[in-house]
């Protein structure tokens, strides 16, 4: 139960960070919190429901790798945005404003 509450709280904290942070790198960091909490919750929930440990571990491993790739691309976009227009805050991106 401690783990369930902790993971839910961390996911919510990450979501709050994504919604309130202005700095692009801080937004990526907040997204990492959400991913990490979801992955731990996934493993714990699957193991507690009697899922195959090898399958759960391999699935979680693939999630870790996929999310590392996502972070690398996200950070590359941030560095690219900085090089193009010295933009590092989310408010600097007005192109997609509705």
């Amino acid at each position: 139960m401690t783990l369930a509450i902790g993971c839910a709280a961390i996911f919510a904290l990450g979501l709050y960070g994504v919604l309130t942070r202005r700095d692009l790198i801080a937004i990526v960091v907040s997204a990492e919190l959400m991913i990490g909490a979801a992955n731990v919750q996934l493993v714990a929930l699957a193991l507690s429901r009697g899922a195959d440990g090898a399958f759960v571990s391999s699935f979680a491993l693939l999630v870790i790798v996929a999310m590392a790739a996502e972070t690398a691309v996200g950070l590359a976009i941030i560095v690219s945005a900085w090089r193009r227009g010295k933009r590092e805050q989310i408010d600097d991106f007005r192109e997609v404003t509705g």
């Binding site: 904290l13 507690s48 440990g53 391999s58 590392a68 690219s80």
Partner: protein, 164 residues
């Protein structure tokens, strides 16, 4: 309270501490340190859940890889002025309400996590390797393709910015 439960509670505390720091601190260095703390907490949680392979992977990929990547990104994205770099936030009630709502949904929907004990569900890395090279081979190969695509994407994105 068993040793596993204490270890799990300690790892959750570590994760929470890191998450709170990563969400609320304004100093960039502390932000990265908090992320490191959180990632170590995740590795400890995996270890407590009897998956040493996942714990080691978490440390190698995230603490050793992603954290360094974030540090490099921070160094490359030059912060203005001579003052210490700060991370700005815009706290508002709507974001807090949304986060609280998601927290409540996550508490209600998945159901309780019970019965996870170290001895019963210990995952042998050999069986994980068998699974990755057996029934999960397609997913494993697709992950390799994903990593290659991500690598090419990073090169294209950063090179495009350099050319312009």
């Amino acid at each position: 309270m068993t040793a596993t439960e204490i270890a799990l509670a300690a790892s959750v505390a570590l994760m929470l501490l890191g998450a709170i720091g990563a969400t609320f601190v304004k100093d960039v260095t502390r932000l990265v340190l908090s992320l490191g703390l959180f990632l170590l907490g995740v590795a400890a949680a995996f270890l407590s859940l009897a998956s040493a392979l996942l714990a080691v992977s978490q440390i190698f990929v995230y603490v050793g890889g992603v954290l360094v990547l974030v540090l490099f990104a921070l160094m490359m994205v030059r912060r203005g002025g001579t003052e210490a770099p700060r991370v700005e936030s815009r706290h508002d009630i709507a974001a807090a309400a949304t986060a609280l709502g998601v927290f409540l949904i996550l508490m209600l929907v998945p159901g309780p996590i019970e019965g996870v004990t170290l001895g019963e569900v210990a995952v042998d890395p050999g069986t994980v390797a068998d699974a990755l090279l057996g029934p999960d081979l397609v997913a494993f190969e697709l992950t390799g393709v994903l990593l290659l695509v991500a690598l090419l994407a990073v090169i294209v994105i950063v090179k495009g910015a350099k050319d312009s």
